[in-house]
């Protein structure tokens, strides 16, 4: 494989990886705080893309306005999901909330089918993102630069919120010990809502960019990327935001490279991630950067 080809695949891998990373952040933040696998997160990702479609076709918004609106609305949906389906179960056994999350996932997916139909929908893409540029020998899609850059900026914003604001301090406190945070006067429910909002907004951004890259919208489009992002979060160490980013990028990169180098294995592409999940859980369940959670006897 020539260097040019390698660079091209590298950019593709980075693009896919940053999309995974943006979703994985939502999983890891919610898990860090509530010990809940937010099964509906993949549908939040899907909704982000669908809201853009809705904005441009139903309300005739320009695409860039539609995108911003979609991110905001999706964040609202994420918060709503927590309020309705998870918050009443805070004191219930952990699996109850997970079953509720599975229910929400099916609900949102099928509601989208009811609203938009199950047929794949085409989404508008600005042409300049699709026109390959020639950089030396490398043919580069502007999209594969645009997506990682924007993702990086969003992550910088997130880091700022988590480490430089009072709300971020609250998040970190709750993820250490939710009960003590309560007693110390952290407004736990508001911070949890904020967490869901931020996680959902990032997932929506990822969904929208995903739609630019793979311009077919389908109600089930969230399942596989969502599951892989979850795997990325586990790989990076669930609860750790840098872990989610690193895990996402590594997973996306490996996936593209594996298919590029071993085209025969393309059929096993989706199985690869699941095998990875099982392997991590067995060998190092705390992932690359996660803290150890232990059960007391």
């Amino acid at each position: 494989m020539s260097l040019a080809m390698f660079l091209q695949h590298g950019l593709n891998g980075l693009t896919l990886g940053s999309l995974y990373a943006l979703i994985a952040i939502g999983y890891t933040m919610v898990y860090g705080i509530l010990r809940l696998i937010n099964f509906a997160h993949s549908e939040i990702f899907m909704l982000g893309a669908y809201f853009v479609l809705w904005g441009t076709t139903l309300f005739f918004l320009p695409w860039y306005v539609a995108m911003v609106v979609a991110v905001v609305v999706t964040a609202g949906v994420g918060i709503l999901v927590d309020r309705v389906a998870y918050r009443p179960l805070r004191d219930a056994p952990r699996i109850s909330a997970l079953i509720s999350a599975i229910g929400v996932s099916f609900f949102l997916q099928n509601l989208t089918i009811v609203a938009f139909g199950a047929i794949p929908r085409e989404v508008y893409r600005p042409l300049w993102l699709e026109t390959p540029m020639l950089m030396g020998e490398v043919r580069v899609l502007p999209l594969t630069i645009f997506v990682p850059t924007l993702s990086f900026l969003l992550m910088l914003g997130l880091v700022w919120v988590v480490y430089r604001t009072k709300a971020g301090l609250g998040m970190r406190a709750i993820s250490k010990d939710i009960e003590t945070s309560y007693i110390m006067g952290v407004s736990v429910n508001r911070i949890i809502s904020l967490t869901f909002g931020i996680g959902s907004a990032l997932a929506a951004a990822s969904g929208i960019m995903w739609a630019l890259r793979y311009p077919q919208l389908q109600p089930v489009m969230g399942s596989i990327p969502g599951f892989k992002a979850f795997i990325a979060a586990v790989f990076g160490g669930i609860g750790s935001i840098p872990g989610a980013v690193v895990g996402g990028v590594i997973l996306g990169f490996t996936e593209i490279m594996a298919v590029a180098f071993f085209p025969d294995l393309a059929g096993y592409r989706d199985a690869f991630a699941f095998v990875l999940l099982i392997a991590i859980l067995l060998i190092k369940p705390t992932g690359l950067m996660g803290a150890k959670l232990e059960d007391k006897v």
Binding site: I95, G103, F106, F107, Q109, P219, A271
Partner: protein, 348 residues
């Protein structure tokens, strides 16, 4: 009381037999199909309840075990000539081509194959905590699906099998259903059943009581996998067509829905919810098909069925987490007493 109970159980079985005999002669194909699905869904619900409701292992791998059961059974009951026609992507391996077995043996083989995979998958995975176990078993089910697509010489790839002989009639399905019920009831009532529940309630305490937790988890998991495989095998023969797409997460979701609705750790709940939800699932198909009122067409709403069902699941988890039966069970003494009371009241 023991002898009385045995007689009542036999009577109930006889009534079921009479009902099936009547149904076979008087109900149309659609209704019989629903009855068949009820039996299969009860088998599946009981098997998941054994794993999750009684032993506390949150498994989302049911579709995987069902797929294994369905494929193994189908390969064994399709006749070689049929298989030659079916495998158009790539020719089947000779052993796949020539494998043949009577229906009972084929279903059994499907169950055993699923149980074998249950041991294989369970041995490493059952050490995981509850939510991680769920995700890992879901991963297993997806891997089974990917393998089914990518092993065309065994599974005919994405096309799957068509024209699977429909041996799974009312009698076979209900025989397996009653056997599963009998098996699970006996198991749960035994001291091994107490041990399963102990592991569910407190694993550390169970260990301190001398229980080999891992061995019992593996036992419960592979027994559950066996019946999931049986259910899958029957389902394959019942619907005559299987392909990898059929064994997706929705299948697991439906079984989970039945178990949670009926009550985790209630056999009665699984049976009752199996009947009710299967009927509802079929009945709600109506909303997805166009409806004609005279000349006037009401368009069907695709997706509506699962919207209703997922909403129902969320509501049950939010407002009645223990399901309709909690952990309670039906027993004859209870029924007789309540009948006796009524009779007494009428008498006075």
């Amino acid at each position: 009381m023991q002898a009385q109970r045995t007689i009542l159980n036999l009577l109930a079985a006889a009534v079921l037999g009479l009902f099936l005999w009547w149904a076979e002669g008087h109900l149309d194909g659609y209704k019989i199909q629903i009855l068949n699905l009820i039996a299969v869904n009860i088998i599946l619900a009981l098997s998941l309840n054994l794993i999750y409701g009684f032993t506390g292992m949150f498994s989302l791998g049911h579709a995987g075990f069902m797929a294994i059961g369905a494929y193994v059974c189908s390969v064994l009951i399709l006749d070689p000539a049929q298989k030659e026609m079916l495998f158009i992507l790539e020719p089947a391996y000779t052993w796949v081509q020539q494998a043949q077995a009577p229906f009972f043996v084929a279903v059994m083989a499907g169950g055993l194959a699923a149980a074998f995979f249950g041991v294989l998958v369970g041995a490493p995975l059952l050490r995981l905590g509850d939510d991680y176990l769920g995700m890992a078993t879901l991963g297993f089910a997806e891997i089974v699906r990917v393998l089914a697509i990518n092993l065309p010489r065994v599974t005919n790839g994405a096309l799957g099998f068509k024209g699977i002989p429909g041996h799974a009639n009312l009698w076979w399905n209900y025989a397996w259903c009653v056997f599963t019920l009998f098996f699970v009831v006996r198991l749960v009532a035994s001291n091994s059943g107490n041990v399963f529940k102990a592991i569910r309630d407190d694993e550390s305490a169970a260990k301190a009581m001398g229980i080999d937790v891992f061995r019992h988890k593996l036992l419960s998991f592979s027994l559950g996998a066996f019946f999931a495989g049986v259910g899958g095998a029957l389902l394959g023969s019942l619907v005559a067509t299987i392909d990898p797409k059929m064994f997706n997460f929705v299948l697991t979701f439906n079984v989970l829905m039945i178990v949670v609705t009926g009550g985790l750790g209630s056999i009665t709940g699984s049976v009752v919810a199996g009947v009710v939800i299967t009927i509802l699932l079929e009945w709600l198909r109506v909303v997805e098909n166009p409806l004609f009122i005279g000349d006037w067409e009401l368009p069907g709403i695709p997706g509506m069925r699962m919207v209703v069902f997922s909403l129902a699941l969320i509501c049950i988890i939010l407002f009645r987490r223990e399901g309709f039966m909690g952990k309670r069970e039906f027993n004859w003494g209870w029924l007789l007493r309540s009948l006796g009371n009524k009779a007494g009241r009428h008498g006075s």
